[in-house]
Symmetry: C2
Subunit: 104 residues, 2 copies
Amino acid sequence: MTETLVPVFAALGDETRWSILSALGEGDASASALAGRLPVTRQAIAKHLGVLQEVGLVEPVRVGREVRYRVVGSELAATARRLDAVGALWDRRLAAIKEIAEGL
Amino acid sequence: MTETLVPVFAALGDETRWSILSALGEGDASASALAGRLPVTRQAIAKHLGVLQEVGLVEPVRVGREVRYRVVGSELAATARRLDAVGALWDRRLAAIKEIAEGL
DNA sequence: CGGATGTGCAACTCTAAGGTTGCATTAAGC
DNA sequence: GCTTAATGCAACCTTAGAGTTGCACATCCG
């Protein structure tokens, strides 16, 4: 269940990728366009877009000779749900332990 | 807003740390105890517990001469909520763009 | 057609992170 | 008090990844 989850978190665990996602949040853009706004090279951005695409957080769209990228918001939401599910599991266990500890 | 979020994701973006969290899910345990169950050294586990504690995902509890660690489920849930909020933002923007694109 | 503009691929550097071994230290327990 | 088990700290190795430069290829446009 979590084997597909971990790479998503690894992808989200990088400051630069968040700024890319944030920039894409204001409108789809190509790697070159993003390179104009961010303090890194186009190739670095291309790599980041690669890993983001790999985990389904971003989607490429060919527009003429350029490749624009779009944020896949639903993937973010899905990840949040799965994370919440795990958290709920642990909370339930903690509650159960608490009951036991209180002598119930 | 996201500056405290990224390290949490970085912490969750490691397979070993998930197995530690998973093991802790079945009951609080010390680094030495975990070393018995996982295919890594106690010191490696200690480091991982350090970064997990750093981002608030885990909490140390002294029991005699040993230090047991407990999962903080609420932090997981909080992270999930924040992530969901971001996803919702992007979804809303995408919906707005779709409306515009459809000539509304 | 020819020059911009945009992508893709490859090699290279450098640092941080995961992991190890080794030793010092602290605290139970007999 | 002395042994034993647990933790803490430090140095070290090794690899993955973030970033760069450089060049080749494709594609739009005047």
